[in-house]
Amino acid sequence: MVGNAVFRAEGLRKSFGHNEVLGGVSLELHAGEVTVLMGANGAGKSTLVKIISGVYERGDGTMGLAGQAFAPNTPAEAIRAGVVTVHQNINDGVVADLDVATNLTLDRLSGSGASFLFNPARVRRQAKAVADRMGLAIDLKARVSDLSLADRQVVAIARALAHQPKVLILDEPTSSLSSAEADRLFALIDRLREQGVAILYISHRMSDIRRLADRIVSMRDGVISGVFDKKPLDYEGAVNAMLGRKIHLDQIVVRSSDKAILTIEELRIAQGARPISLTLGDGEVVAITGLVGVGKTALAETLFGVRKPLSGTMVLNGKPYAPETTGEAIAAGVFLVAKDRGENGIVSGFNIQENISLPFHKRMSRLGVLRRRLERSTARRQIEELGIVCRSEKDELAALSGGNQQKVMVARWMAQDAGLFILDEPFQGVDISARRDIAAKLRASANGRATLLFVTELDEALETADRILVMSEQTIVGEHRNADVDLDRLLAEVAGGPLHSAA
């Protein structure tokens, strides 16, 4: 263990309006160590990274770098002080239309001391120096748009490292890389670790974390919920600190069902993934949980006809089910409340009433003409049913709180009876009371259909579902009846490794 921390943050706070995103975070990074930062969506990871890298101003707290105060006002200042960040979206880090040499020296084109003229020979000389130091084997004349994603990532990191930083922050660097590409990145990270760089590595991928981590820091709801640095690292503990139960909730009355609505046989949703088989019953609420990027959304989209499975069959209410389009899925009675309502759900130019009627125009019109009175009465009924707080059904969605916007999204799909009702991350960006309302409504109306929830947070699964399935690496790896759940086993399945007791 290295004694002194290169980077130290104490009591960092940050609020956006009334919403406190960071509630006093303290973090240490040590030279020659990879510290993994884990946290669910909305835990505050990105905010923390943006404060350290000078994008956001911190609300409160102090930061120190190599014993000196560190308070960057801009990303450029942070880089000059020795804190370099490689962001998640690879293509944000490189300019695709320029060659590798220019990309490696891009940051020298501006700022004080940059020369007015662009000198290709000098650029190539500097780029070669950067590439040699990193042991980069990429043709410097190649255009970045011709490179693989991993090579682009390496170029972005190499440029960042040309400044010989003390701290390197990698924000989900492998999220779009194949495993072979990721291996090359890991080799680079190993070399940097030997050179004594302190690395903060943000990831959801357990395989990456097992491969790289010297320490794990878990975040939850804007605070550090656990630090794990004793070897062997306690991976389940880290997952538990990030996702596990916060408070003891009332047990729900668990139901089981014997009438199958949907049967999935040997469904494969990704190359090299093991097939999925499962049955969803009438009146049942089933939650599928797992970390980000394990294929939850892919499975939801496969069921809804957005993408096609590689192989396998589905049977819905006794009939073969293989939707080609979302329209076919809806006609068959399969509805999806997609995740990320801003991106995939809300039509911002429409009011509540128009947003609710969106998927069912055909059923709400006569000879192609919308029946506005029916549309309005449906909207009013749904506003009542879900307790949406608004002035009237004519309100714009932008005027509603996040929780009420989400209720509108759920209300949209509950306006008609579903055979299979799928909700992907329905509690994202939703306050606790709206979450309770939605969950209660889902359970109360569950009869006559199968309900399938995709959630990352375990609490959400535990307080809504009759049955909890665990996904990892694009397949289902565990099943639990939501009564006396063996949390240790569940967490081990989420973390994707063998049980401690079994090891």
Partner: protein, 331 residues
């Protein structure tokens, strides 16, 4: 509602009535049925084109080819009647087909070839401007013209076709309302009803606002987009038919201003009633607004070369209304 909301909502309508009141006092004979009809007639063709382009704006696209579709339709109508010696019905059908086919190609380029809408329709505009000159080697088409092979074209514009441009219906006063104005009003009501009251129109707005959400609500997004361009193409070709009927010849030099005027009317329409989105009623008001302004200024002896400047000012003011005041611009 605050004062600001009222300003956004009714500002442009108030401006329109203010303008009418001003011209009524300042210009003799401005308030008369003939003057009103003249205004409508002057904006009829651009109005029809503007209503078509509104459909593409609704799905979040744009159609720069409408002006050249209109002139191509005009040349085709002249060619069919003068050179091929066909009747009015054939000419009209050929024009409408040209509009529909160009719309389909535009839609295909944008949806399946992934060419950005502005670029695809810009390319189509160039293509059509050139194409319409090929059959006659760049000459205008009129009865008695000499063809490239030396023969003389003996066909002529049929009376039925010319009536589309010249016939006037009785309305209280005999021979008052031209056919083109009736066509404009009918198409305006049709597209308004289609966009506001049918499920297809509603879904087109959804596609324009959030394509992904529309797709996840089961809509065939690609088909909706292609249909929008077909509507735009067909409307533009109707504009071309009216233009040919008014001129009575296939004039290669006419129709230069159609695109800009039509687009301006549609964009001015965003500001009407604070809609802040493309809408048929606004487009019609936008076209009228420009027509009234130009008619009034002409009657007050403003020189013709100030017209484009005035249109530009109106457009910029309307865009400020839409984007700055209503705050819809930042999203």
């Amino acid at each position: 509602m605050t004062l600001r909301d009222h300003a956004i909502r009714y500002g442009f309508i108030v401006l329109l009535f203010g303008l009418i009141a001003y011209f009524a006092i300042a210009a003799d004979g401005f308030v008369s049925p003939q003057s009103a009809v003249f205004i409508f007639q002057s904006v009829a063709i651009t109005g029809v084109l503007a209503l078509g382009v509104t459909a593409t704006l609704v799905v979040g696209g744009f159609d720069l080819s409408i002006g050249s579709v209109a002139t191509s339709a005009m040349m085709a109508a002249a060619y069919v009647m003068v050179v091929l010696e066909q009747n009015a019905l054939v000419a009209v059908v050929v024009c409408l087909l040209i509009g529909a086919i160009v719309g389909l190609i535009n839609g295909w380029l944008i949806v399946y070839m992934r060419v950005p809408d502005l670029l695809a329709t810009l390319g189509m505009m160039f293509l059509l401007v050139g194409l319409q000159r090929i059959p006659t080697e760049g000459r205008s088409i009129a009865t008695g013209m000499t063809m490239p092979d030396g023969s003389v074209a003996n066909g002529k514009f049929s009376d039925a076709f010319l009536a589309l441009g010249r016939h006037r219906f009785d309305f209280f006063i005999p021979n008052l309302i031209p056919v083109s104005v009736v066509v404009l009003l009918v198409l305006a009501v049709l597209i308004w009803f289609f966009l506001e009251y049918t499920r297809f129109g509603r879904m087109m707005y959804a596609v324009g606002s959030n394509e992904r959400a529309a797709e996840l609500a089961g809509a065939p997004v690609k088909a909706y987009k292609i249909w929008a361009y077909v509507i735009s193409g067909v409307f533009a070709s109707i504009g071309g038919i009216l233009l040919a009927a008014r001129l009575g010849r296939g004039d290669i030099a006419s129709g230069n201003n159609l695109l800009l005027d039509a687009v301006a009317a549609a964009l001015i329409g965003y500001a009407v009633l604070g809609a802040a989105k493309p809408n048929a009623f606004g487009t019609a008001v936008g076209a009228l607004f420009v027509g009234i302004l130009l008619q009034g200024l002409t009657m007050m002896n403003a020189p013709y070369y100030t017209q484009d400047f005035v249109k530009g000012v109106v457009l910029v003011v309307a865009l400020v209304f839409t984007f700055a005041l209503s705050g819809r611009g930042r999203r």
